[in-house]
Amino acid sequence: MISKKHDQKGMSVIEAMTACCILALSVIVFMTLQSQQEQRFTQLRKFDKAAYAVDLMFEELSAVYNPVPIQYGDPIVDQNTSPSNQLLISGCTSLPDVGDKFMIAGVPGSYQIIARTSLVSTKTTLTIERSDIPQDSPNLNLASTATANARITFVFNSNGSLEQYNNLDLLKYNNTTYQNTFPSDVKVNLVKWGSILNKHLGRPAINDKRKIEVIDVTTNIPIDENQDGITDQIDGIDQFVTSIKTQVTVRIKQDKSEEIFRRRYTNGT
């Protein structure tokens, strides 16, 4: 029995199979690592190109952004008006846009244009609602009587605002129903940006995100006119100057990776 064992040469089947298994495992481990590295590299390439596409979007939004309100000539209230949601104005050289906001001399609050009629002899009838109180307030009509010839000052230019891009879902760029919920210039950009991202990132998976968010960011900056390092005070109260910037965030989620791109816009930038 003992001599038989000594006579044995080479490997047993079990030894050979164990060796093969170890070899196969190491090959699988290496191949998995290689495949993961390849996937990460591909993802990196995609996000790198997407970053340029997002920069393109930010540049094009710069061209849209124009927060300086347009006055459309010298608009005034055309005739005495009781509180209502309609206002006839005159003195316009061009037609104000839906979404523009204005104030009326002698009337509290600011108002947003919901609809308007065509311009006839510098006159247009605006359908309005108050924009300085919450949307669920029971009465959004004119706060009080507007007097004829009261001056109208526009305070917000809807066309130059980035608000219209808030919550824009770039994944739905080729959905006609979704496209038609936006003004024509937003629609053009939705299609253009959505298709560029699709070109660089490929078809989206179920939980992927390609979204634009727009918010106003308010920052209180301490005033220190005499540069002594201490915030100036009036009657013991610290003085601040408020800076409002429009912040655009583009969120891109692709598989397990999510990247957030941000740019802030301020008047004159």
Binding site: S3, D7, K9, G10, L23, V27, F30, M31, Q34, Q37, E38, F41, R45, D48, K49, Y52, A53, D55, L56, E59, E60, S62, A63, I196, K199, H200
Partner: protein, 207 residues
């Protein structure tokens, strides 16, 4: 007994063992070589990709720097800017809005070190690396002096300055005051082609 002694005297592998050993080691070496080669290729591709990333980043930065300034007139400049941007195809024929152009000229007033301003026309074009090359792969820039942004005032033709290389395609499309750039880069190993989109908003032009 005689057989047993013969067996005990045996040393080294038999032919069959040696063949099996060689076969196994060949498989192992092939697998190892394949894996190593794959790693090596990925590594080389990543290096080449980094090269084109670096080149395109610099190119886009340089282009945006000039294109965004198109139309800028310094307050001390006597003449107005007659032509902020001018796009042509490869035959130097002007192309209009929303049509792909190969060459871009932008004009603006730049500030010199002594706080004076001078008006420049900057031209960007894809050119061959050396005259014997077939492909145009290098983005080059030429800077002319001008008074009105239309006529060049240099006595001699200025030299080309290379901006970035490894280009495969470079197109410019103008829409109002936005210049869109379509760029394709090819890595030095000619295995990766990457497409990039960028834009420059010309803040100093109004349409």
């Amino acid at each position: 007994m005689e057989r047993k002694i013969r067996k005990c005297n045996q040393s080294g592998f038999s032919l069959a063992e040696a063949l099996v050993g060689i076969a196994v080691s060949t498989i192992v070496m092939t697998a190892a070589g394949f894996i190593y080669n794959n790693f090596q290729q990925t590594f080389i591709r990543q290096i080449n990709h980094n090269v084109i990333k670096q080149e395109v980043r610099f190119a886009i930065h340089a282009l945006q720097l000039d294109l965004k300034m198109a139309g800028y007139k310094h307050e001390d400049a006597a003449n107005g800017i007659q032509r902020a941007v001018y796009l042509t195809d490869s035959s130097n024929i002007e192309v209009g809005e929303q049509i792909e152009a190969d060459i871009v000229y932008v004009c603006y007033d730049s500030i010199n070190n002594n706080n004076t301003s001078s008006r420049k026309i900057i031209k960007y074009e894809l050119r061959k690396k050396v005259s014997s090359n077939v492909k145009k792969t290098v983005l080059m820039k030429k800077t002319y002096n001008t008074n009105d942004c239309v006529n060049k005032s240099d006595a001699n033709e200025p030299n080309w300055e290379p901006v970035a290389e490894h280009f495969k395609k470079f197109r410019i499309i103008k829409t109002n005051n936005i210049l869109n750039l379509e760029i394709e880069m090819e890595d030095p190993g000619e295995k990766i082609v990457e497409k990039y989109n960028a834009a420059a908003f010309m803040r100093n032009t109004s349409y």
